[in-house]
Symmetry: C2
Subunit: 340 residues, 2 copies
DNA sequence: ATGAAAGCGCTAACAT
DNA sequence: ATGTTAGCGCTTTCAT
């Protein structure tokens, strides 16, 4: 900066004001158009680049936020990341993504914020059981945080879906109306030792119809195509196999369709399949996949929540609804295209 | 740090040595075990957190690298990111991901490195035509860079696949041997105004068999399931439609299978399909997708290349092979499972 | 085995 | 409209 100042025949202050471009108060008016141009030219000839760590050290702020996700591959993360980042960029912030497949990695990513490498974080879909503790502790230490989950807000905000239970209930009603009695479940968790909200919705609705919830009809692995495929195959290999499968994810539903087709079953005649999430792929797969999920998910409000919290870190955490779920019947359960 | 020093009754130097833990020379021997423990306790009671921007400013180094990808959704990015990050972590570095869907975003992400927010970057699969220019210019300005692509190395290293052309050739041979003459192509580019290496491999091999390359049989959009689906559907709607489709991506191949099934075609009897990339999904889809791709991709050497370049930034750029392609015939072209 | 102090590059309060 | 200067929090050389 000193070099630039010398070249432009101004002080470092002037250089700072030109390149720092405060969006606040004493920005434009301070420097004359002529001086500003001289500085810009000097920057060009010198090849000067601002040193961000120095700026961040001084400003005590980075204008950068972290998006923490458990894995890249999830079909909605692309959508979510794009929605969120566009809001952040519009507000002058940058974003980067850190993959946190384990609680330890989540912790170390969150540690970047007290470490002043970022101003805050958005946490997507870490369904690990010890995640809440980690988030609560981080928030208690003043880390501005928004979680997209069903957690209880506690110093951080929670963005969550609405009517998930209702939509899943409608999916089950739909299967029952079609005469299905042997309905299996493919969930996210590898085991049934911990509660899973979508399983609870599934279970309650089955019980409501007077149908038994048979634990030999429950599998995990909905998060990963291959795992769900294995789960579906083992369901279909049962001597008394299900006539319908409800999966807690769409990729699990699609994997189930594939496993069923490979076993020679026709869909939905021999096996009805319903997924969750209503991702685009549901409409492409043949037969198209019935799904409970949001009509058109929009994650931009998640970013807005973080912006609010950055402005006022002391706000108590709150729950906010950012997408409303519905049931979309398609070929995989009805046999004909009722809805796209 | 001053607070910690006071609490522990030592100097800030000592605190720095304890928490900075130089992995180099004067680290362990300098501080006595007793003093070290006193400092650690003080850190605990004070709740001290190191300020990374200050450290990075002073060290002129961040021990952080960027992974630049064009979109999250690509099926191999999960794998690549995990491979690369594990090598980096093992070497004491951290990694974050920045999504660069446009050349402008790629540029601004790369600018973080002269900006001293990261030490270097790995660029995955930006197939945009102006990308090479951006990378060359960044490298010329001293940005340590590794590109996973088929670009010409120029100040940065290039990690690339091997025998891609050969594997695609085998795939085409396979189709020709099965009697196919009307073979369509679904590529990455939206138009044919720019050369595309996989299309070139496809084209050359067809010509080698004396088959015409019909431009009404070429579509784009292989990168996105929905786009590929649209492309495949328009191919199948032709009055004289292809009997085989070769897609430059596996998700394009799977989308083609779906489009064909929806049109009432049997696979491979009415339409043979081959993809590229050999992703896990190929073995799950029904019928399983024949594919040209690596047997088991391993991206760790990409990270190794960057580590080398960080050590010696002046090294001229080189090409390195990190995965070898083969052709894997499966049900979507043969009708029976020859290979998994 | 430990401490004093310079300075990394920048911003912003306070001059003028 | 522009300049002076005191730090931001840390690392590291040089002393002791």
């Amino acid at each position: 900066m000193a070099d630039v100042a010398r070249e432009a025949n101004v002080s470092v202050t002037t250089v700072s004001y030109v390149i720092g471009g405060r969006r606040g108060s004493p920005a434009g008016d301070r420097i004359s158009a002529d001086t500003r141009q001289r500085v810009l030219d000097a920057v060009e000839t010198i090849g000067y680049r601002v040193n961000l760590p120095a700026r961040n050290l001084r400003r005590q702020r980075t204008d950068h936020v972290l998006l923490l996700i458990d894995r890249l591959a999830s079909p909605f993360s692309q959508h979510a990341a794009a929605d969120i980042e566009s809001v952040l960029i519009r507000n002058g912030l940058t974003m980067s993504i850190v993959i946190c497949p384990t609680p330890a990695r989540l912790q170390s990513a969150l540690d970047m914020i007290p470490g002043r490498l970022a101003d805050g974080a958005i946490v997507l879909g870490s369904s690990n059981p010890i995640t809440p503790d980690i988030l609560v502790r981080a928030a208690a230490q003043g880390v501005p945080l928004v979680s997209v989950s069903t957690l209880v807000p506690d110093g951080f905000d929670v963005a969550q879906t609405h009517d998930e239970d209702l939509a899943i209930g409608q999916a089950i009603d739909h299967l029952v109306e079609l005469g299905h009695k042997r309905i299996a479940f493919i969930g996210h968790l590898p085991d049934q030792s911990r509660p899973e909200t979508r399983f609870e919705s599934f279970r309650q609705r089955l019980l409501g119809h007077g149908l038994p919830v048979d634990h030999t009809f429950v599998r995990g692995g909905a998060r990963v195509r291959h795992d769900a495929y294995i789960g579906a195959r083992s369901l279909l290999d049962l001597t008394s196999s299900p006539t319908a499968v409800f999966s807690a994810s769409d990729i699990g539903g699609i994997a189930t369709i594939w496993a069923a087709q490979r076993s020679g079953r026709r869909i939905p005649d021999d096996l009805a399949v319903i997924g969750c999430g209503n991702i685009d792929e549901c409409r492409l797969v043949f037969p198209s996949l019935s799904s409970a999920g949001p009509a058109q998910p929009d994650y931009s409000m998640v970013a807005t929540l973080l912006l609010q919290r950055l402005r006022d870190p002391a706000r108590p955490g709150e729950r906010h609804v950012f997408e409303r779920w519905m049931f979309f019947p398609r070929e995989s359960s009805t046999g004909s295209l009722l809805s796209t």
